[in-house]
């Protein structure tokens, strides 16, 4: 399980993380800052994939780390801290997507959101258009279906890993991915069901 998550986040040495967690639980703010430095990039990447290049990603990052700080006393160390943190991030993303479905708003992709910094302006324009189409399609899915689909098809996690991150059963994760794939075939780029 930890191996798959490592594809998303550069893992820190386990012993060091454990020591940081213990110190953070004891109230050491510097230790928690170290945890933040270790995992901020990974959380940011994961949130971007899950919810898209939205300006509220920083708010979601803040929410993830605040929830982590409150949940650390319950962290028993039976999973990697990265897994624990990504479970929180998935939860925060689901909550955000649900709230966003109640107030739909198209995703506007900016140049700085693009990974390929060396592309020409024409290529950037084409990429932005492609991403906006993709986001419109994904916005037509339910929050959990979307998350399961991205974890499976973009991050290429196994179904047990998806189930663990989403806090559900493997069968349920499989069904969500299948339902999302079926739904995407029926949704047009305006987000409406065909």
């Amino acid at each position: 399980m930890t191996v798959a998550i490592a594809r998303v986040s550069p893992a820190a040495p386990g012993g060091e993380v454990e020591g940081l967690v213990e110190r953070a639980v004891a109230g050491d703010q510097l230790a928690f800052a170290a945890i933040y430095r270790l995992h901020a990039d990974a959380v940011h990447r994961l949130l971007t994939r899950l919810v898209g290049p939205r300006p509220e990603r920083e708010d979601l990052m803040q929410e993830v780390f605040v929830r982590l700080h409150r949940a650390l006393p319950r962290y028993r160390g039976d999973a990697a801290l990265a897994t624990f943190l990504h479970q929180i991030a998935v939860r925060v993303a689901i909550d955000h997507l649900r709230a966003r479905r109640r107030r739909p708003e198209p995703t506007a992709v900016l140049d700085e959101d693009l990974a390929d910094v060396a592309a020409s302006p024409a290529q950037r324009f084409a990429q932005r258009a492609e991403i906006e189409r993709a986001m419109a399609l994904l916005d037509g899915l339910g929050a959990k279906q979307r998350i399961a689909f991205i974890l499976r098809e973009v991050l290429e996690l196994s179904y047990p890993e998806i189930a663990r991150l989403m806090g559900t059963f493997t069968t349920t994760a499989r069904m969500r991915v299948a339902a999302a794939t079926r739904a995407l075939a029926r949704i047009d780029t305006t987000g409406r069901v065909r």
Binding site: Q29, F32, A33, Y36, R37, A40, D41, H44, R45, T48, R49, G52, P53, E58, M61, Q62, F65, V66, H69, R70, V109, E112, D113, L114, A115, D116, Q127, E130, I131, R133, A134, M135, L137, L138, I150, E153, V154, T181, L184, T189
Partner: protein, 343 residues
Amino acid sequence: MNVPELRQAVEATVSPLSDIARASVWQRVERAIDTPPPPRMRPLRVRLALVSSAAVAALAVTAWVSLRAGAPAGAAPAAAHVVVVAAGAHVTQRWEDVRVDVVGPAELRFERRLGLGVLEVGEGTVHVRHAGAPLVVSTPTSTAWVVGPVFALRVHAQGTELASGEEAAAALVERTTFTLAPPPAPSVPSPAPAPPAQLEEPRPRVRAATRPLEPAPAPDDAPAPDDVPAPEEAPGPDEPPGPDPETVAAAAYVRAEAAMRAGEHARAERLLREVIVTVPTARVAAAARYDLARLAFTRGDHALARRLVDDLLRANVDPNLQAPARRLRCRIQRAAGEACAAD
């Protein structure tokens, strides 16, 4: 757009987190974890459940307090029934599904509060039969819920006695009727020690007064049973007076009813005869005649059943018994092949 295109588009969005953004988010995180978290808002369903639970608890507490205080809560007060029975008298009352047999001296009050039957007994002996929800029974010394459908209660200066169940309740009433004799007048202390009080003493007198309705001819040479004293053994003038006959009869009728319900017909018949002999003209004797006639009819003694029913119809002591008595007479007539007036 197919799945690989979607994957490519999503991957294309991943730009690295800038140092400024990282520092900005950390500042906000630091501020947030320094301030205590706001109280967690529970979901609406949970809040509604909590509010309704609190309301039910408050209602229950209010009802209990009002029951204890004797004041009705919220709803308009229901009518209260107050029964005061003189010493030695017996009264039967029925309210909805509650029937009480009260042996005086007694004082009680029955009312419905918030749908609950509340029986307050100041003093006396009460035999209660009810079919509904548990009753709240309140006495000067205690308050209790009584679940059983039959129970008896005796409230006196020393406290409260409660017996639940047919037999125990009948026994409590029976014991009461034999201990209700008024206390002897204070007399000049005698150097000789007074004999101990014999609670069982009055029992032979009652048995002496009891004789079968149809006295069977006893053989002359048969010895009289030891526990049946001769009729001439009347209490002497210096003995305390025995219990009131109506009280004895009422107690016997209660026991007879219990015996009928228990299927002990022979015992029931004996007790019903005792009632009829003890107070031949009382209403309880009329009820005893009807029950005895019914038992005799069931047993096949149609002649005795007919005689008892005829007596009952002729005397007309209790108008409520006339219709059932007429129906029983019709059944007897039909069983004998005769035509009934109602046919």
